[in-house]
Symmetry: C2
Subunit: 228 residues, 2 copies
Amino acid sequence: MSPAPTPTLPGSPQRPPNGPEIADWVRQRIRTGRFVPGQRLVEVDIIRQTGASRSKVREALKRLEGEGLVQIEEFRGASVRSSTLDEVRQIYRARMALEGMAAHDFTLGASSALLDRLKALQDQLDASVRERAPDRFGRLNNEWHRLIVEGSGNRVIADHLQRLNVPIHRLLFESFYDEERLKTANADHQHMLGLILAGDAEGAERAMRRHIADGFETLARIESEFYS
Amino acid sequence: MSPAPTPTLPGSPQRPPNGPEIADWVRQRIRTGRFVPGQRLVEVDIIRQTGASRSKVREALKRLEGEGLVQIEEFRGASVRSSTLDEVRQIYRARMALEGMAAHDFTLGASSALLDRLKALQDQLDASVRERAPDRFGRLNNEWHRLIVEGSGNRVIADHLQRLNVPIHRLLFESFYDEERLKTANADHQHMLGLILAGDAEGAERAMRRHIADGFETLARIESEFYS
DNA sequence: GCTGACGATATTGTTGACAATTTCGTCGAT
DNA sequence: ATCGACGAAATTGTCAACAATATCGTCAGC
């Protein structure tokens, strides 16, 4: 995982006056893969790119360290924390636990409005499968999972899951370029939707766990091929 | 929950030259209840008490904000984040998910050395119950849970649980002053130990979940009495 | 060619001063 | 006595300069 400890790149100033929040700016770049794991986050570069002052950048990096996204070493500065394959396994295990619980609670407590949104999302997912659009499927898939989690009424679980997902954000999309995996995943979703509508909370939880475990299996297969 | 938004207290300088880590210093004071929820964390006070410089303190507070322990408002500074009873409920729900998973994985993967330590800990817990020592039971109980979590081989889950537990750290001890609860909790532990030794991972997971759910029930009862 | 010492550069750590904002006490009008 | 305006004090936000450390290229010696 994260094979390339890439060097820092210089950049041109682009955000002119105001900076809504440096931490958000960095976080998003990590999520979208513009900052890759292992990459050093040199303060001056971020200053050049955001126009923020030094102390702002430093505090933002400290904050991100608190979130577990960034690693700071004395006199060596900040870098994007990289995960080993084993850590990704652990993350998926934690996701199984938390998203399973979220699916359980969603089933018991979701309003009909939420259920409608979920059904609508499922229709869109089905369409993206028919049209063989893995990229769109990936986005909708994210929305689907987030809807379950946010709709479970447990903000604490939602927050921890969001943190958990950042290091694997990019990976979540890559699996779906395998058509077989895409179909299987969508079938899982349809099955879960049925269980949720039927009010089978424990069934939905088990299904969610299996679904996530399968996701990791696929991922691990892809990664191991990548390294062989 | 967290009824008293206490004022800030002045203090005398006590840590003379070196500060191992301001964030740790604050975190521990929050855990042990010396800083209570809602309390403002005035930079100058922390400076006086730790001897650290301003930027150090500010960065530490930013870091703790990232950890979710502290809340920072523009021009109003940092304060210990306080939890509503509903948020505590959500925390317990997350604990059920994660510690349940940890118990599962512990059962499957624990070395015999770890099992021995767990059995020894159980003996001490039994003794503290016989001797009606709720305070000691609380400490040993913490160790017991931590042993399961750390022994599960999942650092990610362990980290998230540690964060999860900070806001409820003090509450974890209060339940055991009820003798009935203490006995019930210890019986749970004995039962779980049996399941673990028998290799029944899913049984251990279910038992852990129930155990934690019961813990919240007791807590909620205590808190609601406190407010009636 | 390789190794290790040395120095220039780059990067991070630390400190202090100043600006912006809130907080709190004071005082006068009603 | 209550309310609101006003101003001083307290607190936080921001910035720039300087110190400490690491990084990297250079070069002498073998």
